[in-house]
């Protein structure tokens, strides 16, 4: 076996059983990590991915990132196959089991998989391609440069003779790993940028077991867990006599909870022979709750608290110039107050997980997004050493941020340990919705000062928001999860002089203040966290300023974006924020969406743009507003979305089908939550428990057309699972304002007088 280190990745080649070639690859730990581990860097090389070439030409790629609909299980193998020049019809993609001896930190969040894995999968593909070409060239007695590779063959250019990859595998496996394996130029791509159907499609349409909820283990039980309806509460007195009389119920087990509520919450588990019996038994429990300090909390009390805090000083997070003086000297001040509710993730697959604790080990199978931290949490709550926690990830029936946490795996492990048998813990929809970790609610009070020419000279933002960082007992400042840096896009890498997504660029006097309300409600990351609320406030206020100053909203934004030369980039992000890419998507969306041209009679167009996790998106919405949905006083008016034009730049497109699907899906998701999404708090708990009250957008309400235009790029791919979501709501609000003069300053829009047709 030979190893080679290229850039920050390394590759190893060996023989696979049956005469194949096995290439393993991974990240080289940094000198710091190696020093911390106490081993020299070279000795601690842990592969994170594998590819095998069989003698029959089949290519098998183990993909370590869980797929929850963003298509990474298809996209990562595509990158490798492109560089390898493998025939895609002979590539199989397989999920990798978590094994810390083989796989490094696993998970997909913050639209990060593509950013992180691009080098790794390209290097792996290029290396295996070069080894196969070298093997063929040597056998033919020609030089490598006379040969080319295409569709799983090596071809000798002058004679035209060719050989398939498969028969070369065994001999290639015995070669040393080449020191250099050049990447193909983007112009030579034949697979990347095309539309490739998801590798799991055949299994999905035939109903094969794929998801956590489908896991069946011999001898397993089913369990449902009762938790306190008030956030922060716990069971005090439990009477389980009626529950134990339900046919099929076997046992009742207490779940103690953990001091970090994102690890495990206290509850009572009912264990049964079927899911149905577990649900019925759980409903038959009689529990007196210790409701804790937040039993009187309501949505109204939270709103009052937000407004009171917004009137106060708050803590200054960032200040440039003298905002107070600039506002006092402004020709005009535009002010707005925005409020946003809690949102549930409402993954269509409710939370569930299967655990089997035996012989000092814990075997977890379930829909987990972060296997690495999941293993840590399970170890923490069970006391089982982390190396004895084994996690097999299934396909995820939706994520949207909910499955960054692993509380349901911890629950399953604790119950399995208590009953000494494998168990699937499963939530009803009501359990899932009333015990979620919600998009944190909050408000933004904004003031902008304009000079006589309508230029923005002062920008003052007071961010009042629950902090998911504070809730999860994080050590960074509470505001750091509720507003993000622009330069790097990832809060971990913030440069000291970062800008924030609540503060537009090139305004001489700016200030950002923060206040954290007190609340018991559980919070977590929700698709495009913080961006959804922040983009709505900033993008609707910019539109309002432009309209009130008689300026074109596109021109105003271009002025604020400025040239890229005005940016000071620090940190090591290979694709830092570039305002020129934002200018390009703004112009493209405006042009293709007819922004600034006269819309058909009775319709209006609205525009918005945002930068999310390394990618750029602008949208133009064309809509009309109809009469009230019913004759009732205050009934909302019906909005019909005729067309959404979406321009985006996420670097090189790996799978065009996936990018287009995420853009369309993100727009529909963003629309539905903008119009309907709200978890109401009453008596300290969540009111909405199912889709009758927590309305999701339906087929008939989706736009008549969504056009997606992707900016051609040779830049590294960046995330595309989240970028479309924050942009749609402000674009709709701006179009509604253009038509009616009414400025929507809150979500859900149904509470501001508008519903979907």
């Amino acid at each position: 076996m030979s190893a080679h280190v290229s850039r920050r990745t390394f590759l190893r080649v060996g023989s696979a059983a049956g005469g194949g070639l096995l290439l393993s690859f991974g990240w080289r730990p940094s000198a710091l990590e190696a020093a911390q581990a106490g081993t020299p860097a070279a000795a601690s090389l842990q592969p994170s991915g594998f590819v095998r070439l069989d003698p029959d030409g089949t290519v098998t790629i183990w993909s370590k990132n869980p797929d929850m609909g963003q298509g990474v299980k298809t996209a990562l193998p595509m990158i490798l196959a492109e560089e390898m020049d493998a025939d895609w019809s002979r590539v199989r993609a397989i999920d990798a089991e978590l094994d810390r001896s083989k796989f490094g930190g696993q998970g997909s969040g913050g639209s990060d998989s593509m950013r992180a894995e691009w080098d790794l999968y390209r290097n792996a593909g290029a290396t295996i391609r070069e080894m196969l070409a070298d093997t063929a060239a040597e056998a033919w007695g020609v030089t490598r440069t006379e040969c080319r590779t295409e569709r799983s063959r090596v071809v000798h250019a002058t004679t035209g003779r060719s050989i398939e990859y498969g028969p070369l595998a065994a001999r290639a496996a015995a070669r040393p790993v080449p020191q250099k394996a050049a990447w193909k130029p983007a112009s030579a791509f034949t697979l990347l940028g095309t539309r490739v159907a998801g590798v799991d499609n055949p299994a999905i349409v035939t109903g094969r077991p794929l998801y956590g909820i489908d896991v069946r283990v011999p001898g397993m039980k089913y369990a449902a867990v009762a938790k306190c309806p008030v956030f922060g509460g716990r069971p005090a007195v439990v009477d389980d006599s009626a529950a134990l009389r339900v046919p099929g119920v076997r046992q009742v087990a207490r779940i103690p909870g953990h001091e970090n509520p994102t690890f495990l919450q206290p509850g009572v588990a009912v264990v049964a022979d079927s899911t149905w019996a577990a649900f019925k038994g759980r409903d038959a429990l009689r529990i007196q709750w210790d409701e804790g300090p937040f039993r009187d909390e309501t949505s109204a009390s939270l709103s009052d608290q937000f407004a009171r805090l917004a009137r106060g000083e708050g803590t200054t997070v960032r200040a440039v110039g003298d905002v107070d003086a600039a506002l006092a000297g402004a020709s005009r001040v535009v002010e707005a107050y925005y409020e946003f509710p809690f949102l549930s993730h409402a993954t269509l697959e409710p939370h569930n997980c299967t655990a089997d604790v035996r012989d000092g080990h814990c075997y977890i199978t379930g829909p987990l997004q972060m296997q690495g931290s999941g293993a840590l949490v399970v170890s923490e709550v069970t006391g089982i050493p982390r190396e004895n926690v084994h996690i097999q990830v299934t396909r995820l029936g939706g994520g949207f941020g909910r499955r960054l946490l692993s509380d349901y795996a911890a629950e399953a492990a604790v119950v399995s340990k208590a009953i000494g048998a494998p168990v699937q813990v499963i939530g009803t929809r009501e359990d899932d919705m009333r015990h979620d970790y919600y998009r944190p609610a909050g408000a933004r009070a904004l003031r902008a000062g304009l000079d006589a020419n309508g230029r923005i000279v002062a920008w003052d933002c007071h961010l009042v928001n629950l902090s998911r960082n504070a809730y999860r007992r994080g050590t960074s400042p509470a505001w750091s999860t509720e507003t993000y840096g622009m330069v790097t896009g990832l809060s971990e890498n913030l440069a000291p002089d970062f800008e924030l997504d609540l503060v537009p660029w090139h305004i001489p006097h700016v200030r950002l203040r923060f206040s954290e309300p007190r609340s018991g409600v559980a919070t977590g990351a929700w698709r495009a966290p913080a961006h959804v609320a922040n983009a709505f406030a900033v993008e609707t206020l910019l539109d309002e300023i432009a309209v009130s100053a008689g300026r074109n909203p596109v021109d105003l934004r271009l002025e604020l974006l400025g040239p890229s030369s005005a940016l000071r980039i620090t940190g090591d992000d290979p694709t830092p924020y570039n305002p020129e890419r934002m200018v390009a998507v703004l112009r493209l969306a405006a042009e293709r969406g007819g922004f600034g041209q006269r819309p058909p009679e009775g319709r209006a167009r609205g525009l918005a743009a945002h930068y999310t996790f390394g990618s750029y998106c602008a949208q133009v919405v064309e809509l009309s507003v109809g009469p009230q949905a019913s004759g009732a006083v205050g009934a909302p008016r019906r909005v019909t979305i005729h067309r959404v034009t979406c321009a985006l730049d996420c670097g090189i497109v790996v799978n065009r089908s996936g990018v287009e699907a995420q853009a369309q899906g993100g727009i529909i998701d963003g629309l539905g939550h903008a119009f309907f999404g709200e978890i109401t708090i009453d008596r300290g708990g969540a009111v909405e428990g199912n889709f009758d009250r927590y309305r999701l957008i339906r087929n008939r309400e989706a736009p008549a057309a969504i056009d997606v235009h992707v900016v051609p790029s040779t830049m590294r791919p960046t995330g595309f699972g989240e970028i479309a979501v924050p942009v749609i709501a402000p674009a709709v609000a701006n179009a509604v304002a253009a038509l009616t003069g009414d400025r929507i300053r809150r979500t859900p829009f149904v509470r501001a007088g508008y519903t979907l047709r």
Partner: protein
Amino acid sequence: MPSISLSVNGRTHALELDPEMPLLWALRDSLGLVGTKFGCGGGFCGACTVHVDGAATRACMLPVGKAAGRAITTIEGLGAGAGGYDQVRAGAEGSEPGSHPVQRAWVELDVAQCGYCQAGQIMTAAALLARTPNPSDEEIAAGMNGNLCRCGTYMRIREAVRRAASMATSSAPGEGR
């Protein structure tokens, strides 16, 4: 507990079950047919849609006692021909997609994102096309309106129903149904 005779995908099973248990859990927990999904348990989302005597039906709302003696088709049995689920199960890892035009259209147009709702979408679409072989755009959106997709795949769902309708009408009548 009474014995309930359940006919699923052309095969009859005798089950000892609480007749009040929803058909959904009998399929998933007793028969191991996990393709039919649990989304809400209240008739709101359509993830659990199966065919009962040919009609799209929410398995979470139908007590298994009331399903006895009726012809039930699940996603595993759709397009599988007379062999039903056994034929599908016989297929190895990576077996061919279902042969029903709706299933083929769903694969071709890459409809699924997370995929969790799609069994229910497909069963609803198949029943819709059996009733209305050439639906208008409005009939498609209305016919599919009861099935939620949290990932927002509605645009491709509409297109795939159109594609399936054209596939079905261009082949012999009844084929693949």
